[in-house]
Symmetry: C2
Subunit: 108 residues, 2 copies
């Protein structure tokens, strides 16, 4: 069998570019302490931007920037109520991975 440069072979031990991109982006999102804290907070319930900032003692602008990051990856979503935006998590798989790993880190 001729080796495929573009690596479409299902048996190939290397990953295709698109999968690699998605996976690395996902883990990159979970690789920052601030984003971890935000996601972990949202695990329990929805929060407004200021609510997150107060709960975690972060600046509003920091929270907003990180929420945009998480939103772009569809890891969070929001609903509007007046001028307030309530954010909640939007990816069960990622939340499971996060909480699993937190538990694993705590109990070891």
């Amino acid at each position: 069998m001729i080796e495929d440069e573009k690596n479409t072979d299902i048996n190939n031990k290397d990953l295709d570019e698109e999968t690699l991109f998605v996976v690395s982006q996902t883990f990159k999102a979970l690789g920052d302490p601030t984003r971890i804290r935000i996601l972990h907070l949202l695990f329990h319930s929805e929060y407004s931007v200021n609510g997150i900032a107060e709960a975690l003692k972060l600046r509003q602008t920091t929270v907003s920037h990180q929420l945009r990051f998480l939103k772009n990856l569809r890891l969070v979503k929001y609903r509007r109520e007046g001028t307030t935006l309530f954010y909640s998590h939007d990816d069960e798989h990622v939340m499971n991975v996060l909480e699993q790993t937190i538990q694993h880190a705590c109990h070891s």
Copy 2:
């Protein structure tokens, strides 16, 4: 109940510093495409440093640096055979999380 600055309260929605550090380091390791490719390769079997470099078309020095990174986090280990070092994965939980997420990314 008085709020604890150091956040030792088990009901607190924020994470303690040590857990946060371990979790973020772990995900940071998985947040880089090169390290993902290396770990995914090691999922199947052990490889020498040059073996990894050849399989993934990376430079020896790049592979060596990333292996040191992964070794520091105890995500990989190695055994020596002459001048050759055979690396293999050393954290079942992290490998499960990685492979799960790869499967999730492929089939969606």
